[in-house]
Subunit: 253 residues, 2 copies
């Protein structure tokens, strides 16, 4: 199987490296920034192409891993491609490829990727969708080489899954950041919170979050809630977030 | 060293069991609910006492691990105690013990505890404060048997640390719960998010959250932000949380 990768950002890089590590050939990499394409291509023994019209029209799979808003435009430029074309986005509909292609799909790895941190694909849910059975079979073949966690999911549900992931990951990481702001303002190190953060995530691996919620809001500990809000009087945005999340927790009691 | 534990909730239970496992004798357990005291006492070869006036006045350490609002009242009832008295709260000032006792302190384990999940104390930050050097030495001696992560911190900073921990743990777990609500409403299983949750916590173990933030808000991906908000139109509280956290992330760019 020959794969072409369009994009060289976080997701494209981790995915392309995982495909390469699974002994599947990535032949070409394209990016808006040729230097990024070159950097990625060098790591996986591929060729960086500077123009989309250099794409190997006979490659088996073209994975588009770029920002959501640009997928339709890039697909339009690739309409001579004859293989299976798929994007890796959580939010973009499968039908972005309709009319242009015979075989198309979605290959959405549900994970957070950072350039600085390597990650094993073995447990990452790979969320697949395709326009026909043969496309789905091919996506499953590729996915199966990377992960044992393969999920078929349609565009409607994938959108909701992506939204849920924003709450569970992006917002969560931002709460870590807000905690770090509070610590910094008090000459405390983020180090001290790291075991707590790991355990908070570990607890919901074998339980549901509703069943392991702790803290003053779930205990309805009004005195502590009021004291905390007093500590945030000079930071209206943190205070607002404190209030809305505490109120939301109380509604689950 | 002989320790008396006042309380039999999540923190008291995990702490008492860890002390017992470290070969320190817990002689007595008291709780508002004698049955809970009995359950804990049975696990650690201690005696459950039904009345505070049965407390061993000669024990070396009395650890008060009950809800914040009740600490002052319980301390008042223990004023004949001659050993070192300490509470385990993040939010209550050391001075709650002043005037009543000669030796007192704080022994605050910075972690989230659930009855259903065992936990190793080895890495848990034990945050200590005491009214004099000999009290601090004794607290350090006890803490050193449980963890290698011992932090001296005064009441003012501990309050801020506790507040930061609410953001990093209680609110974070609630975001997991909101994600689960979104999944459930779309017939999706929480299982699919679990690898993402673990990785989100793992990423900040060797990095700062600001440096590994991902998602539509940090990318300023307006189309996805708008689409997500449309998906939440029927859930005003989730929509409000989505907006306020996305706006807060954007301010970090």
């Amino acid at each position: 199987m020959k794969v072409v990768v369009i994009g060289a950002g976080n997701v494209a890089t981790h995915l392309a490296k995982a495909i390469y590590a699974a002994n599947v050939q990535v032949t070409q990499v394209w990016s808006y920034h040729n230097q990024n394409a070159q950097t990625l291509a060098n790591q996986i023994n591929a060729k960086a192409i500077a123009n989309l019209n250099e794409i190997d029209l006979d490659a088996d799979v073209c994975l588009i891993s770029i920002k959501d808003d640009a997928i339709a435009d890039i697909a339009n430029q690739l309409k001579d491609f004859r293989g299976l074309i798929a994007h890796t986005s959580g939010a973009v509909n499968l039908e972005v490829f309709a009319n242009h292609f015979e075989n198309y799909g979605v290959f959405y790895p549900l994970q957070t990727f950072s350039k600085s941190k390597d990650i094993s694909f073995a447990d990452i849910p790979l969320c697949l969708e395709a326009n026909n059975e043969s496309s789905l079979t091919r996506l499953k073949e590729l996915a199966g080489k990377l992960s044992k966690n393969i999920v078929e999911i349609n565009s409607e549900k994938r959108k909701m899954l992506h939204l849920a992931a924003v709450f569970a990951c992006n917002f969560t990481n931002h709460l870590y950041e807000l905690a770090d702001e509070i610590l910094k303002a008090n000459q405390l190190e983020f180090d001290i919170l790291r075991p707590l953060i790991v355990e908070t995530a570990a607890k919901v691996q074998n339980a549901f979050p509703l069943d392991v919620q702790t803290g003053p809001a779930i205990r309805n500990d009004e005195q502590t809630l009021i004291k905390h809000q007093e500590l945030l009087l000079q930071q209206p945005q943190l205070l607002e977030i404190y209030k809305i999340l505490s109120d939301s927790i109380k509604k689950t009691i």
